[in-house]
Subunit: 427 residues, 4 copies
């Protein structure tokens, strides 16, 4: 299924009247605050969040998975789904692939399809947390950290394959999330596991194209429940520092211990020039992989406030970061969920763009705590929906993507096209 | 496979010499502390922990499952496995079944097999967290709490079926763990969900045989990640109080928010006569379902200290509690894991039996904090392995169950018998 | 210091122009959604949050306290400070006193002063977590739960004194926060401590005037770090149920373990008719006592969504709840902090009033999760500042309380009046 | 008060008979496991834990402090108290001072007193988390990170003073714990705060004597409740790496977010040669500062298992670490509490020395998870009290330090000598 320009235009025409009123007031507010509307709109427009290929089907938990219909069974259909999202919001112009789930049979055809839909190939992801059919050695006890050299080599080779697939499609980064770790005290020699991991990463890094980044994820627990080889940003950063300038840390919002101040980690990594990418999602307990912004929207805003601060002072900092969603959809239509996530991300970004950074810095310098807090709250409390609508209308996206998605009955069409029994690869 | 008396006796003969020395010293220590050895041994001997049928195969996470060989594919084989454990330690003389995974085709044959192995049927467990093949209505949005009466009725009927199966086998309790909840703020009307759950439970309770208990589990999150209908002991207790005397709360050690004082919950529930059962496991982060005692052995001891306190003052309190393991085995041979769990449970229990409760009460009354703490530490620091060995030798179990399990190469035999590709039902 | 009508009017006149524009658009939005503006404004106007007498000076931590100037040294000055806040926002028309910190020497004079400032006396608070000078028995090892009857009686008597003081001033509730607990495993007999606490509470309850409530707080830790006698809502509710209809649970937002779903607890307690009161504050880690809404504004909104739901369906539910702030101000001017807190509370309440409860219920019934979530987000994303300004202007409060506070240089005036060395009683 | 040799000898004579029996069996067990008893005893004997001068009086919380009698009011008395502890267990031969609480008036006299009691001066601690009387600039908004250069310089100067005092007494390290941070989102520019801290630390580092270490503590929260400038090991390590070889990270067991795997952090830091020191205590919720080993004795053992592993493979690693207790005693006699802490630390160390590291490594290499876990459990379950007693008897300490402390009624003597109203400096 595709959404055509006419459908978008019809939809926007219906929204225009009420939009104009609210945007007028909003625009006046911006003028009053001496914020340049065009700059803000330009930056919003530039911002593209990659959709992970594994988030287009129903996600599950270890207790089971509840099916939805119309899941994309093949890579072609996955790209088609991202195309739908991008047509609706013009902010999802990238896809992040997972190997071996998404090995392209015909890379050229895949590239053509993506190009037509204006979709880029973002970071490619390797998978050494599951055993694939016909795989020689099991990752049950680790992959890049495994005690057995043979297993480590297999995992290294897999990562090199992933890079090769990525090169064919035009990706510029590989994301390595390691499930390696241990379930029981005593099971693993922490030091050796970390050194072996470093050794394996060095082998992959050596083959990294010069214009690529290696994004190293961290996670404190799950699927291992006593220790993970790369449990925190400190360990990821330690590895990235030893590897070289192309290795950076990737922050997944759900990969932290309770109460972690994530925005501070983001700031520290940016200060070191070592923030490489983001996995957006939200959570209340652990790696819950819920819709971005559904639990802690203020935290999301605070994170973007750090990102914007950096991008203001150093234009390269911001452009060097890969933005991806990483979520799992247990109870919602994944496409609706992704539209909501992108909206929440843009909303946080837009609000951060409204923060008066100069005044904020001034208040901080004299320790006017109340004023500093008020400046953030002022931006956060602003209703930026008129702004996001305006941005979308200008870029020929739908004013209200979710509304149009429902009006067009996209899911039903997908079910008609694909049936109810296809199961998308993923978790 | 079965382990015969001769194998046990041979094993014990080899352990006897070294055992006698260490037990001699241990026994002297007890005498010095005026603890009656026979009472302690009697109570240890009486203690039986039910093995859950779903913990006999390899467990998994949402990221995958790593196979082991020789998994029990049918109920008969599961009972056989529990028989192996019980033959080794004489402390696992019960099995807890899960419906529909363990529906007995021929109940009489099943009972005979269990009887031969000296195994009781403990609480039966219902399952409304997964959709079964050919199931009419989905539990995607809840079961006993569902907004749709039809779905609730289906879930109630399933629970009544479970009771029926349990009655046939001689169970005396049904354990209800509800995965019902919501993933997103707004999704669920908390009050209505709870009232609907109560209504459904009342229907089940009404059909409960007079000599049965209904055990109501609680859990703060997973598989739902915003709210669970029965998130904490307070809610479970609220429901159990409204239902009646046969309804009680079941405590699963892994079902708590970070830092919860579980032993205090146990004490409060016992004070109210509402502690119905236990699911043993251990965890560092969430419901990690690790081997009991592998992370927080002192907490396990403190819990048993509360249990023993109650059982001393009120003999019925203790006997009314169902003891079950509930774990998931991602990286170990499940049978080895279960042997370790039972050992850890008995170890905590044995240490709690050594606490000088009279002196402890005395110290507490005068707020001699140091002394009270020392009295617990004294018991905890005692090496009770000679005591557990003695208890096992006297009941014709293996002095060192895990050692004998390995010496006999049980897993290899099971693989020979069952092959490497059977997959046990479970998570 | 007092703020007079003229100062308010001048301030409001200056805000009027820009306010009218933004309120116009806001009001149109409400009309479009068929929400009755007058009802919303009426309910906002009715809402009064009590200011705790102990939050008017600089708060501290165990590591120290940093002084501010102009702290209120006497009860008269504390009431004066609340008068300032209430003059500014007309939403702080109540004060919550702490005995023995605030024993009124001349109750009649105190009442007159409060009446002039249009301030009510909300719940009175007892204090058995500190030893007062010349106190006979120490609370080092507990108060209402103490092993020694004599100490318990002293603590009961103190609570009866507090009720007596409260009656003189017109309070209608006593809040009991018990610091009782233990620091070390073994120290306390959980059951006896709870039973003794119940016994002490019964003695206090017996003397409770018929039109009073007893509010029972819970808290998982601090100042005791192993166990607290009333650690969670379940225990508070257990006690309140045993005591009778006038005993209810008080929810302090900071008194929960990490990741607790507080809005669900609120819903459950309201369902049982047992929610008695609220202590507002915010926190990232524990009982941080930060400005309300400064960390988790969405959670605050979700809590109010539960409160509004109940108040819609049962008018008595809402009116029976006592609203109080309980915060500690380590780095800000306490009065500014309290103005921010009240603003955040009203903001959350106002947004909750905008939720389309009928549509929400509809979406929930058919498990349209996306729609249910969107309905909450729609309300939360709305900028309600025009509404709050309008509400204030109508009730002759300052359109922008914090701005006027700063413009009038209130703190400097207080320092001139009171000096820089007075230390307010509190933590 | 002093404890003399005769008192120790009398005590030990009384314990000897029962000790000999239990030690005999223990010693046989060691022989059976081919562990060299003399090596173990030698290492235990070498191990000395520094006592913090601020832990000798009653600790408090922000809610209050409950007095004990006989607190040491002056430095001389504090050293005397440490002398008592060291006489009792011969494992507390060091004191860690806190400036300005412990400024020595007459360094030579202080050194003589310490020498007589066989007490070393361990790391000195600076204090920039409180304002001292007559201090020019306040640390309310930070010290080494402060926005104002003047305040930073004051804080740097204070640290240089601390080093000077330490040099006079023979200390070889300065511990810097920074309370710097922020309470509210927006308050602090994370990057600038960290860069300013680095700048200040560089100034201190430049003046560090060549044979000194700078120990940099980290802590996620308290006394600041939104962010801390050095919240985690990663940040501490980042600073220490930039500073140079003498700068290392100090691990305080209570300074972690819930569920942190501390033993893994210890391993990683040791791998990098950057573990500088330890603050021992225990906790259930946050920085509870409870007696070491009272909540999580197994975690303490696992930490020592990492330490021992390193010390086996690299003798310098172990000797380069400073061991200190850092606790706060709200409900116990501080001296009893410290005796318990040292006992728990030695117990964990002794058990770690019993781990068969060679077999453990072997099991790990082949991923025999059960066996690896069993090897740790075997050591942990061993009752090492006979070993600790033997070690003490050989070094002329008391076989049972706490028993002798109570038999000699030390606290009463201290109260007689010092009265009941002295208040020791500290928290």
């Amino acid at each position: 299924m595709k959404i055509n320009k006419q459908q978008i235009e019809n939809h926007n025409r219906n929204q225009l009247k009420s939009h104009k009123d609210s945007f007028g007031v909003f625009s006046d507010q911006l003028t009053a605050k001496k914020i340049d509307l065009d700059t803000v709109l330009y930056r919003l427009n530039q911002f593209q969040v990659a959709i992970p290929s594994w988030a287009l089907g129903a996600g599950g938990t270890r207790f089971g998975r509840f099916h939805i219909g119309g899941e994309p069974g093949r890579l072609k259909e996955k790209i088609e789904d991202v195309g739908l999202l991008h047509a609706l919001n013009r902010s999802s112009g990238a896809i992040s692939l997972h190997i071996p789930w998404d090995i392209p049979d015909d890379p050229e055809a895949v590239k053509r399809q993506a190009e037509e839909l204006d979709i880029r190939f973002d970071a490619v992801n390797s998978n050494t947390f599951q055993d694939q059919k016909n795989q020689k050695h099991s990752y049950k006890f680790g992959s890049l950290c495994h005690t057995d050299r043979i297993v480590r080599e297999q995992a290294v080779d897999h990562n090199l394959d992933v890079i090769r697939y990525g090169k064919e499609l035009g990706s510029k980064a590989i994301t390595i999330w390691l499930a390696d770790g241990s379930n029981f005290p005593g099971q693993q020699n922490f030091r050796k596991a970390l050194m072996r991991t470093l050794g394996s990463l060095e082998k992959i890094y050596r083959e990294l194209p010069d214009d690529w980044k290696m994004l190293i994820e961290y996670k404190p627990y799950e699927p291992n429940f006593y220790s993970m080889v790369i449990p925190d940003w400190g360990t990821s950063h330690l590895l990235a520092s030893k590897l070289g300038a192309q290795a950076k840390t990737l922050v997944d919002l759900g990969h932290h211990l309770p109460n972690t101040n994530i925005e501070q980690i983001v700031a520290t990594l940016m200060m070191e020039g070592k923030l490489g990418g983001f996995h957006f999602n939200d959570s209340k307990y652990g790696d819950d992989d819920l819709t971005t912004g559904c639990i802690k929207p203020y935290q999301l805003f605070l994170i973007f406030n750090e990102l914007v601060y950096e991008s203001d002072s150093d234009s390269t900092g911001f452009s060097g970061i890969d933005w991806m969603i990483d979520a799992s959809h247990n109870s919602k239509d994944p496409l609706e969920d992704l539209l909501q996530s992108v909206e929440a991300i843009l909303s946080a970004y837009a609000k951060a763009l409204l923060v008066d950074q100069a005044k904020l810095e001034e208040a901080r310098e004299v320790n006017d705590v109340t004023e500093a807090q008020e400046l953030l709250l002022d931006a956060f409390r602003t209703d930026v929906r008129p702004l996001l609508r305006e941005s979308r209308i200008r870029s020929q996206a739908a004013a209200e993507p979710l509304k149009l998605y429902r009006d067009l009955q996209v899911r039903n069409t997908l079910i008609d096209e694909r049936g109810t029994s296809t199961v998308a690869t993923g978790l």
